[in-house]
């Protein structure tokens, strides 16, 4: 298909970087568009529509769904537990995104400062953490935090002398559960931030830095007034992705819950939606709320990016 479409004679000026095609170009978009419409668009719309309907057990056996207006939403939003989970999710997302960004940027700056050998060591180590499949990482972290034979409890009690940590269970208590989850999420996400920001740092021209130095700018001034503004687009994209990813975090929370944490005290939005699997309209309404929260947290950034990016 690509071949036939590309054979369309060029009617634009020869030097124009963009060709002017006939309708054939739409053919190139058809397969991807159909697939996304079917497997993403349709479920999204369906879910949105169903969130205004009654859809429970009876409907699963073929009863037509009844329109109930905003009932699913008011039910959810009048439940203080849902608000608790929303609050937790936003807090978890912001803390994780912030910690990941700070650590990631610090690592990127460190990579730019140190010699080739130290940089390679750090890069390979981060790549190993990045490349490990989520479930494999989750498995090791559970083993590290294992209450009986875990390496972390052993180090805390035998090396650092905190005896009370000997058989400490990390995931029973919600705060400690979120601490473990944060350690894992940050460990997994930092490499991506560090590499992206480092790639951005490499683009800052040497000449600009030298000129600023000649003009008497200190290292700190150069960093904050030249480097940071220049890598800002990279930072925006990366921060945006972190916020989106950390708000919808599911696997890490779900796996830790399965390891024996009290589900109700540790639910975030993703796992709460999952727990509504049997009540489809409620799940749909909550998923829509989550989408709205995502847009609220990221909308400003997206608008900014669109304004700056010519597309």
């Amino acid at each position: 298909m690509a071949v036939t479409t590309l054979d369309v004679p060029d009617t634009g000026t020869p030097t124009s970087p963009r060709r002017r095609p006939k309708v054939g170009v739409y053919g190139l978009l058809v397969p991807a568009s159909i697939l996304m419409a079917v497997a993403l668009g349709y479920p999204l719309v369906k879910q949105f529509v169903t969130s205004f309907q009654e859809y429970g057990l009876r409907q699963q056996f073929g009863q037509p769904a009844e329109w109930v207006g905003l009932k699913n939403y008011t039910d959810l939003l009048s439940d203080p537990y849902v608000w608790t989970v929303i609050g937790r999710s936003i807090a978890f997302c912001l803390v994780n995104a912030a910690v990941t960004m700070v650590v990631g940027i610090a690592f990127a700056v460190l990579m730019a400062r140190v010699g080739a050998a130290a940089r390679m060591t750090l890069q390979v180590s981060l790549l190993l953490a990045w490349g490990t499949p989520v479930l494999a990482s989750m498995t090791v972290w559970q083993w590290l935090f294992d209450s009986q034979y875990g390496a972390i409890n052993w180090v805390l009690s035998n090396v650092l002398g905190v005896d009370s940590m000997a058989h400490h269970s990390w995931i029973i208590e919600p705060l400690s559960f979120y601490f473990v989850a944060t350690v894992i999420v940050v460990w997994m996400s930092v490499p991506f931030v560090a590499f992206s920001v480092y790639a951005g740092l490499l683009q800052v021209p040497e000449e600009t830095m030298e000129a600023a130095q000649l003009d008497g700018a200190s290292a700190r001034q150069r960093f904050w007034n030249i480097t940071m503004p220049m890598v800002r687009p990279v930072l925006s994209v990366v921060l945006l992705l972190q916020v989106i990813w950390d708000l919808k975090v599911f696997t890490q929370i779900y796996v830790l819950q399965r390891a024996g944490a009290p589900t109700r005290d540790t639910n975030l939005l993703g796992t709460l939606i999952y727990s509504y699997a049997k009540e489809f309209s409620k799940a749909g309404a909550l998923a829509t709320i989550m989408l709205v929260i995502t847009l609220a947290l990221t909308g400003f950034y997206i608008r900014q990016m669109l304004k700056e990016d010519e597309l």
Partner: protein, 306 residues
Amino acid sequence: MSTLATGAQPLMTDSADQPVRPTKARHTGPARDRGAGRAWGVLAVVIAVVWVFPIYWMINSAFLPLNKLQAPDPTFLPFGGTLSNFRRVLQDDTFWAAMRISLSVVVIVLVAALLFAFLAALAVSRFRFRGRKAFILTILVVQMIPAEGLFISQFQMLDGWHLVNKVAGLALVYVAAILPFTIWMLRGFVAGVPIELEEAGMVDGLSRTGAFFRITFPLLAPGLVAAGVYGFLQAWNEYTLALVVMTDPSQRTLPLWLQGLVEANRATDWGVVMAGAALIAIPVIVFFLFVQNKMTSGLVAGAVKG
């Protein structure tokens, strides 16, 4: 914005083969900076050791017998280890069944996603047409949609089509999930190949098709490889959708199988669990090490460039 956009452009080509760059320390000159530089170097290595420790621990534990794993003091070096944990995993039929499912899903996802994304990327980066901006915008916005908010609805859809517990069903939702980013990434790579090269080929007597396949396509190979690896990693590692779609234990993908192994052996035998995790992780990590450069640069270039 224009300076930044052009600034991002070289990322695509040179970040891969340009790891060494004069450090700031060399610029500032004075000898005391060299001492500081060494301190930073030590810090970097310490961080590297801390960060890689969980992976070392996975491999280390995978070689240890049960009595060492449950000894009062952990064994930090794998000397005197055993292969029995690996043997147990490799003799487990459910491991191979999950491997077969995972490989089938990955192959379908890769072929479909690469082909469709490539065509779409070609359209948006080589042609101007009505709806082009809207399409790019959609690609962007779709990536913002939390997939975790969609899975129940996707399950319902697949259920209606009798695609639950089917490789084809899982592959369908995977392809749709990775298409937007793959298009975004390939768009950056296609735009990075100057059209003038192709036109020069046509001046020299090649047809448009010939020019495309003999000149542009080979230059896109690294981009296609990077996009392919991205798709491979996503499909191989994905857990959430697999959990929802593959409810039948005989249809488990490898991550689901690993979670099952954890739940069966938690508190009894972490060694075999670590062997399972290592067997799933190591091929992926090796693969990943080779190509990550292209992936990061593709993302940054695609994201920042117009």
